[in-house]
Structures are given as C-alpha cells and as structure tokens.
Homo-oligomer: 133 residues x 2
DNA sequence: TTTACTGCAAAGCATTTGCAGGGCG
DNA sequence: CGCCCTGCAAATGCTTTGCAGTAAA
C-alpha cells in the first residue's frame, strides 16, 4: 500500500510505514518495540542503520533530545516543538513558520536541504512554580 | 569584569565568561578542558551541573547534536545552523529569521520562553558526491 | 562465489548520579 | 550545626561497531 521510492529496501519501508502510522515521533528504541509488537521484527542495530539511511535519503527527519535520544518522523510532517528545559515535556506546534524562509544562497548553493528543525525552549508553568518555591 | 546577575554563583560566572569569550559553541567536555587550561578548573560533573542551571536561568542556550553531545552558547548570541546529516559538518547562519515569530498564545501563555534553535539539515557537496559514486 | 544486509553482543561515550568531604553562615 | 556545592568514581542508557552467518544475485 505504501509502495514508494524504488531504491528503498523492504526493511526501510517497514520503518517508514510505522513512522507514518504514528502521530508522534518515535525514538529508535520505541520503533524497535513497535516493530516487534507487529509482524515485522528486526534487530535494534538494523533499525538504527536503516534510520540513518532514510534520513540521508531525505525521507525521515530526526530531532535530538538532551537525553541523547533521537526522535524520528516522516519528513513531510512539518511539526515543531516547545520544550521545557527543566522537565523536558514537549508540546507540538502545528504549522511551520519557517516554511518559506530564504537562506543565503552562498550557504545553500552547495548544500542539498532535506529538512529543518525549529524548537522553542523555556520553562513550563509547573516547573516555574516549583522553582520559585 | 563580567559581574552580572546577583544570584549567579562564582562557578557559573566562570562558565559564562568562557562561553562569552569563545566564538563557537562549546560542549561540556570542551568547556571542561578550556577551564582547566585557564586558571579556573572545576570537575566535569560541576561543569554539567552549572550548565543546567544556567540554561534554566535563561542565560545559556543549548543545542543537541546527533552524536549525543550538547553544545552551549550564551543565549544572546542568536546564531543558527546548517548541518550535514552525513558527515555532521556544521555551518553557522548569522541573523535569525525567526526573531519575531508569533507563537499561538494558547501555547505560550503558560510557558516562559528562553530561547529557540533553528537548524537546517541536508547533505553537503562533499557527501553528495561521495554518495553518488 | 561475491556482495549486501542482518542479528547478536560487546564496546563507546557524553552525561548523570551517589556519596563523602569541605566551605560558609 | 546545618546547608549547599564540589570532586571523584561508578553507573546509565542510547547508539554504534565488529564479526560471523545468511540471503540475494
């Protein structure tokens, strides 16, 4: 059903499908679990290896958390985030305010843009209150 | 000289100063080394602990690399990045295109914004060429 | 047979945490 | 005396890598 790009392996398609079906971003570990829960399992290393390939192919976007985790989502999903620097809770921001930003040609001439990340950081109400205690 | 905010500890001021003097962002490890090279040394754990505090105080911004490292810079320095998803090389983008973006009030009403990160990812020419080989 | 991909387990590594010692009020 | 901050060393946890087995061509 989600047949796509010719030079995408089977495993890579399985990953793409799971990412597409999930509203959230998934970490490598989560993806691994989800795949195991379903019919298509694959080793953790394989999950990571294929995620890297998908990112380089421009099909998957990645976002790095302070914890060292990396979250993955389909590139076409253009969602950004608001994250509390204290508790780490993340809220999604629908609609991308950067969509049509022009970067200096000098920088992008020799660079194939694949995706971008925009994240806002600060303190959520809960942590603010806790702090001022 | 860089006397600042009253409720900033000595250690925290040392860190701020190093970050301010350096044109780049620094990782925790690098900062640790730089501090040791200078007169003011402090343990690695202390560096990290104080960096966290500085981020929460809104004085330092942080950016997470795919490698799991975190890079720190003064918040007032509003620089963004262009990063190759293959080799990881990063270029700085001067001038922030997001400066005056309005976020939905519903999201920010209960959230104290401290800083944001905007990063573009893709493939640099070198990696593009290598890939098509 | 040659090549590319996979799984498993071991390694890597930045960061975090536990805990005892020290400075300071 | 009590509280906070620090250093050291151990632990954590995600991700990467080495290597041998396997499927594909």
């Amino acid at each position: 059903m989600v047949k796509s790009n010719p030079n995408i392996s089977n495993r890579q398609n399985q990953i793409l499908e799971k990412l597409g079906n999930c509203d959230d971003e998934l970490s490598g570990q989560e993806l691994y679990r989800v795949l195991h829960a379903g019919e298509s399992s694959m080793g953790l290393a394989t999950v990571y290896r294929n995620l890297q390939v998908l990112v380089k192919k421009g099909l998957v976007r990645s976002r790095n958390l302070p914890t060292g985790e990396v979250l993955y989502a389909p590139v076409k999903r253009d969602v950004h985030h608001l994250t509390c620097v204290d508790c780490g809770i993340t809220t999604s921001l629908q609609g991308c305010p950067v969509k049509n930003i022009n970067l200096p040609q000098s920088k992008t001439k020799n660079f194939q843009l694949l995706f971008h990340t925009l994240e806002f950081f600060g303190l959520c109400q809960h942590c603010l209150e806790r702090q001022s205690t």
